[in-house]
Amino acid sequence: MESSTHRGSSATTTWLIASAALLPGGLIYLVLRPGHPLFLDWMEPPGTEGWIGHIRATASPFAAVLPAPFVYSLPQGLWAFAYALIITALWGGTIPRSRWGFFWLGSILLVASGFEILQHFGAIPGTACSHDLIFGMIGSVIGGVWGWQRRIPCPTDP
């Protein structure tokens, strides 16, 4: 029973860490990054136009002094970290018995690099950037290592 409580707590904490990583990434996109991300449209329902623009205008002086990788590439690293953390925590305990475990762990690299590769070949909008790729990989590795330490044991484990 004690073990079960510990596992539940660990899983919740893992989710919280991943969510916490996504939050600053989203904020960077929302506030600091030039351009007009799609989710700005989602966050501006009718009647609320302008408030995000006001925040962005206020933050623009800060964005100008921040290093470019912080604004442009860090969000990629953060969500790659979050994904790697969750997937490794979920499936790390099943290795090497579960083929699905390998599949999902493999998806970490695919997700971290896939969007950049697709952008490189023009399959999806945006500009492929090596910095994004590097940040994504670093985020995946850190998330993967941390997730491995927090991996949820498989029920069949001794």
């Binding site: 596992r7 899983a11 991943a18 996504l22 990434g25 989203g26 996109y29 990054r33 030039p34 351009g35 007009h36 991300p37 799609l38 989710f39 700005l40 449209d41 989602w42 623009g53 962005r56 205008a57 623009s60 969000p75 969500w79 790659a80 979050a82 994904y83 969750i86 997937i87 979920l90 499936w91 099943t94 579960s98 699905w100 999902w104 998806s107 997700v111 969007f115 999806i124 909008p125 945006g126 500009t127 949820i152 029920p155």
Partner: protein, 505 residues
């Protein structure tokens, strides 16, 4: 946690991350503003961000749909790059390159029907020249022909051309991509060592490119540069522009193959209409067409093109009109071709000799029956010669025999000694019949009530080799397979009861 729960949770995570990635793409609100610059040229600026900043600038004409035609200049970091594909596959009009601060770099290009006509590359700022030169040298090496008309000492030019030859002999570019890379890199290097020679070379360079056809197993492109002779150039200049066009038409092959390059050149030249020979840009158009065709040529084609760019050649004098001359001729080559089918008169011409369908076929033998195939050997090259043909031998499961114009050719073909008559472009192919007989003794198991036919297969190749160059050959394959099958032998009818013989029988 059950596997199902893990999977669902993972899918949820994947969904969230994908939404994050997609939502963060800033493509939805890029604004564009188009300005009419006059003369049919429009400049479209694509802006994004808040405050808005120009991320892309395109200048050029519009197509019939009102879409901009031109190469996108994507401003990234300290440089720009040209990105494609082009709106309609072509480029038209004048394109102005802008730097990161949206100021013109001084580099402009004029395209006509997708072909580079002029460029102000020489006017580009020196600091930018390195990058731009590398870019152009790599992506559009033909452009380098058009710059630089300075004089040069014959010794320097000779040295430079010799280095070109040596470099080419070493690099052995195998296709147009190799060729473009080699040419661009070599000129880039040579610019440092022989700047005057490069400039002169670019003004009257002569290019000979040879490309062997696909039918060759060698499939190697050999391309050479050499300078045109003064007397030849003078003779060329004796012809006027209309004569040039007429000569060009005369060189176009009539139904001969392969002609991909010629067709490409002709098409690109025709696209220049209405080209006025008196137009000062006409030579550039012709040159652009030649160079465009050169880089767009089908690497599988076979051709030789000699492009002579004689103007400003020292002994011609400055008053001579600049004119380019293109000479086309076929490279003498042997093109052995072996095709297989199930009947004489194989559809070589209609299917094309590079059609994979006629390069291999499969035959199935039922119940150890003999099967046969027709093999046709021809020479698709323009150099008439006999071919040596070798046919595969059988093995202990299959006996192979060949019949041809001289009767049974099994021994000669199996030994690789059979020589065809002289074959050429308009000579009918030699037709050989391959007969394959499965060995019943080894491939049948006879029981009391059934016969089992065993499954075996064999690949039999036929290869024709040029008598002048043993490296030039072609082959086709016939695959024969016996099917496993069980044939039941119906029981014999019961014998009639014997009737007792009576006396008197």
């Amino acid at each position: 946690m059950t596997p199902k729960t893990r999977s669902l949770t993972s899918l949820a995570a994947l969904l969230i991350v994908s939404i994050c990635a997609i939502a963060s793409m800033d493509y939805s609100q890029i604004t564009s503003e188009t300005t009419d610059l006059g003369g049919g040229i429009y400049r479209t600026e694509y802006s994004a961000g808040d405050p808005a900043e120009v991320v892309l600038a395109i200048e050029g004409t519009r197509n019939s749909l009102g879409q901009p035609e031109g190469n996108d200049l994507e401003i990234i970091g300290d440089n720009y790059r040209v990105v494609g594909p082009f709106t309609n596959g072509l480029r038209d009009g004048e394109f102005v390159y802008y730097d990161e601060s949206d100021q013109p770099t001084g580099l402009t290009e004029t395209y006509s029907q997708g072909i580079l006509v002029t460029s102000s590359i020489e006017e580009a700022p020196p600091v930018d020249r390195g990058v731009v030169y590398q870019l152009i040298a790599r992506d559009r090496p033909w452009f380098l022909h058009q710059s630089g008309f300075e004089g040069v000492s014959p010794e320097d030019l000779d040295t430079f051309l010799e280095e070109l030859r040596e470099g080419l002999a070493t690099a052995k570019p195998r296709n147009r991509r190799d060729f473009a890379l080699f040419f661009g890199l070599l000129l880039s290097d040579a610019e440092t060592n022989h700047p005057e020679a490069v400039a002169a070379y670019q003004s009257f360079a002569s290019i000979e490119a040879q490309n062997h056809v696909k039918a060759f197993p060698l499939r190697r492109a050999v391309m050479e540069f050499y300078e045109g002779s003064a007397s030849g150039l003078y003779q060329i200049l004796a012809d006027a522009y209309p004569a040039f066009i007429a000569d060009l038409q005369a060189y176009l092959p009539k139904g001969t193959s392969p002609k991909a390059f010629i067709d490409a050149f002709e098409a690109s030249l025709l696209n220049q209409t209405p080209a006025d020979p008196q137009d000062p840009l006409f030579p550039d158009l012709v040159d652009a067409a030649i160079q465009g065709a050169t880089v767009e040529l089908d690497p599988e084609s076979d051709f030789r093109v000699t492009v002579v760019l004689p103007y400003l050649f020292g002994e011609m004098g400055a008053e001579v009109d600049p004119v380019y001359q293109a000479l086309f001729e076929s490279v003498p080559f042997t093109g052995p071709l072996v095709v297989v089918g199930d009947a004489p008169g194989l559809p070589v011409k209609s299917a094309g000799f590079d059609n994979e369908d006629v390069k291999a076929m499969s035959l199935t033998s039922r119940r150890s029956a003999k099967v046969d195939a027709v093999v046709e050997v021809s020479n698709q090259g323009n150099l008439a010669e006999a071919l040596i043909v070798r046919g595969a031998k059988g093995d202990r499961f299959f006996e192979v025999s060949y019949r041809g114009p001289g009767g049974n050719l099994t021994g000669a073909l199996a030994a690789g000694r059979y020589q065809t008559p002289v074959l050429g472009e308009n000579v009918a192919p030699v037709s050989l019949r391959m007969e394959v007989t499965p060995n019943r003794r080894l491939l049948e198991r006879n029981g009391e009530r059934r016969i089992v036919y065993l499954q075996k297969r064999i690949n039999l190749s036929m290869r024709a080799v040029s008598t002048s160059d043993a490296t030039v050959s072609d082959a086709a394959t016939v695959r024969v397979e016996t099917k496993r099958e069980v044939r039941r032998i119906p029981p014999l009818p019961a014998p009639l009861p014997l009737r007792p013989r009576g006396p008197g029988n």
